[in-house]
């Protein structure tokens, strides 16, 4: 019989103690697997959600807040900027560098039962001209509709909803819903929107968001600038806005504006729109419009377009707006927040595993007294000191291996069990069969740990006084 088989027999002979010890090891490993899988999913989710555009332009402030709110639909709504700034990207001073610009108006929500979804007022360009992800081969992956279609600019009260909103809220194409003013359950109900399209799942935060036509969003109560505050639409309105905030000494001059004559890089308001009944309505004048953020896909995607544009925006509107590369912010988020949190959790799980390894040591060490006679018999049968030491070490390794493998199964099983709940709550899709490369070192690490844990009882076996054990006394 091999030493492994002898060790296995000994382990099975103490099956209760062995099983409990292995179980404690399994729980530690399962916790580690959960941390690894969840972290991998979080990293992927954070990384892939911010694809398809290069810059987010918003009011000066926390770039993290801007990205979290715009990309992930969480956190506080950013402050507003004049719509005229958006026009600087569609047919103004920045248009030359832009492929498409998409305005975001944030701050409303859609309440369905116990759930709250963020409402985004935007243009159809979001789904027509911006991909939501890049495939491994570099090709863009565009939004697709599970049912229905994109909303039309002139149909002011049309909406497109994410796949998760549709499934959780039970909305389908043709249904109507009322957004709530503000982010909360108790805000006033706005006018009704009609669902005209349901997106295919994108595995991004947009799956749990509601997108309404910007034209309709701006017509809702409390969303328009008062006539008093409104300025004629031009670069002057931006300057006026700047001056209002910082005083006349700051800001820019109209002479710095470059005349743009190329194609429009976004969607501008129609002259006439239609309400939910089909009746004609007049869209909100541009001078009364404000936006929360602008997503910008630059024309020179593989060159320095984003950097140039970002520098230009930050220079021209220094102190008032910011142009943020979401990928950079996400990377920083992962490195400075998600990474350290993962590290702390991993350290905790490693500690659990070490405690479990100490459990193995205690379990085997405690059994050594009653087993010293068996060890002496094996020695009398010709087993060397090294042989009995190896057998005890192998027992430790077997328990750790059993615990480790059980833990891996348990960890992935827990991920599988929790997946529907997490997907429902956070919109993050967990795949229980997803393996993190770090899992590959779990087993070798457990073997090393078990060998260390088994060393003390193994040395006890090594030092067994055979003659004394066999005779009971000298």
């Amino acid at each position: 019989m091999s030493y492994w088989k002898i060790a296995l027999r000994n382990t099975l002979d103490r099956r209760l103690a062995s099983a409990l010890t292995a179980l404690s090891m399994a729980l530690g490993v399962a916790a580690m697997i959960c941390v690894l899988v969840v972290h991998a999913v979080a990293v992927r989710q954070f990384s892939q959600d911010a694809q398809g555009y290069h810059l987010i332009v918003g009011r000066k402030g926390s770039d993290l807040q801007l990205v979290l709110n715009t990309v992930f639909h969480i956190g506080q709504t950013p402050q507003l900027m004049p719509y005229a700034l958006y026009r600087e990207f569609t047919d103004g001073r920045f248009a030359e560098l832009v492929e498409v610009a998409v305005p975001y108006c944030l701050g409303d929500s859609f309440v369905a039962g116990e759930r709250l979804y963020r409402v985004v007022g935007t243009t159809p360009d979001l789904f027509d001209k911006i991909p939501y992800r890049t495939n491994d081969d570099g090709t863009p992956r565009n939004y697709a509709f599970r049912s229905g279609r994109n909303f039309k600019t002139e149909n002011c009260f049309e909406a497109v909803i994410g796949s998760m909103v549709a499934s959780q809220a039970g909305l389908k194409v043709g249904d109507h819903f009322n957004p709530t003013h503000g982010i909360g359950f108790s805000g006033d109900k706005h006018e009704e929107f009609e669902v005209v399209g349901i997106l295919e799942p994108t595995e991004t935060a947009n799956d749990r968001a509601v997108f309404v036509n910007l034209e309709g969003f701006l017509l809702l109560d409390g969303h328009a600038l008062t006539a008093k505050k409104a300025e004629p639409l031009s670069m002057n309105s931006v300057i006026a806005w700047i001056h209002e905030i910082t005083g006349p000494s700051a800001g820019i001059s109209p002479s710095s504006q470059t005349k743009y004559t190329g194609p429009l890089k976004g969607t501008i308001p129609p002259k006439i729109g239609h309400d939910a009944t089909g009746a004609e309505i007049t869209p909100l004048p541009e001078v009364q419009r404000e936006v929360s953020a602008i997503l910008v896909r630059v024309a020179d995607q593989f060159g320095v377009g984003a950097t140039v544009l970002s520098s230009k925006i930050n220079k021209d509107f220094s102190g008032l707006t910011q142009a943020v590369a979401p990928a950079g912010v996400v990377t920083r988020l992962l490195e400075q927040i998600v990474g350290p949190v993962q590290l702390i959790l991993l350290v905790l799980t490693v500690l659990i595993i070490i405690v479990a390894a100490i459990g193995i040591l205690v379990s085997i060490y405690n059994s050594m007294n009653e087993r010293s006679h068996d060890i002496a018999v094996m020695r009398a049968l010709g087993a060397s000191r090294v042989a009995v030491m190896l057998i005890v070490l192998f027992e430790s390794i077997l328990i750790a291996l059993a615990g480790g493998l059980l833990g891996i199964l348990l960890g992935h099983g827990l991920v599988g069990l929790a997946a529907p709940y997490i997907e429902a709550q956070a919109g993050v899709r967990l795949n229980p069969l997803e393996f993190d490369p770090w899992e590959l070192i779990v087993v070798p690490a457990l073997i090393a740990l078990a060998a260390i844990a088994g060393l003390m009882p193994a040395l006890t076996a090594y030092r067994t006084d055979v003659a004394k054990q066999l005779s009971g006394s000298r």
């Binding site: 009398a380 049968l381 087993a383 003659a467």
Partner: protein
């Protein structure tokens, strides 16, 4: 086959005084011979067997088995020699409770550095009448059956010498004779020399050669 010459072994007691436990000028067993060593309790019978088996060392002298002076071997060498050339039947049968009868016999083959011969283990158990108990653990075997497994295990590696330390001490008189008959018969069949230690005059009376330990041990 076995030659013990001028071996001496002593301990120091609690007061530091040297206590000589073995002092054997000369003692031998021929190949295939069956010898009984008798002696009172505490006279060094087990110590003599352990010294011959290489489980404990002697202070001086030589113990030659099949031409090899085991006192000259390092510990690992003695272990390997014991596994390959010696069989040991203990006073208490010392079967390992986690292993079946067959595995207990194969366990004896596991430390020789050679492949385990499952067929021989099965044959030996068959020879001692346990072919129907191969996969029973010791707890499921009677006392007599356990001792038979112990005998099969001691012979597993085709030893040249079988050492038996009071093999009937812990079994009832009805089974004692069966064990002695089995040991003698199997050793004869396998041409294995046997050195059996006992304090029982009934057991000793069945052997042609009986040595009184007090006569060969001058300690």
């Amino acid at each position: 086959m076995l030659l013990v010459e001028n071996i001496r072994k002593s301990y120091r007691d609690a007061s530091g005084e040297e206590l000589v436990i073995l002092d054997v000028p000369r003692f031998g067993v021929a190949a295939g011979e069956q010898v009984v060593v008798r002696g009172r309790s505490g006279c060094g019978k087990t110590t003599l067997l352990n010294s011959i088996a290489g489980l404990s060392t002697v202070d001086s002298g030589r113990i030659e088995i099949a031409g090899v002076d085991v006192t000259k071997l390092p510990e690992a060498g003695r272990d390997r020699f014991r596994a390959r050339k010696l069989g040991y039947v203990f006073q208490t049968f010392n079967l390992l409770s986690a292993f079946t009868a067959l595995e207990n016999v194969m366990l004896g083959m596991s430390f020789t550095g050679q492949p385990v011969d499952r067929q021989r283990a099965t044959t030996l158990l068959d020879r001692v009448g346990l072919s129907s108990r191969l996969h029973h653990k010791p707890a499921a075997l009677s006392v007599g059956q356990q001792q038979r497994v112990a005998v099969a295990r001691a012979l597993a590696n085709k030893p040249v010498l079988l050492l038996a330390d009071e093999p009937t001490a812990n079994i009832d008189p009805a089974h004692q004779q069966q064990v002695i008959d089995l040991l003698r018969e199997v050793c004869r069949a396998e041409n294995v020399a046997m050195l059996l230690v006992t304090h029982s005059p009934e057991v000793a009376g069945q052997f042609d050669r009986v040595e009184q330990l007090e006569n060969i041990n001058k300690a």
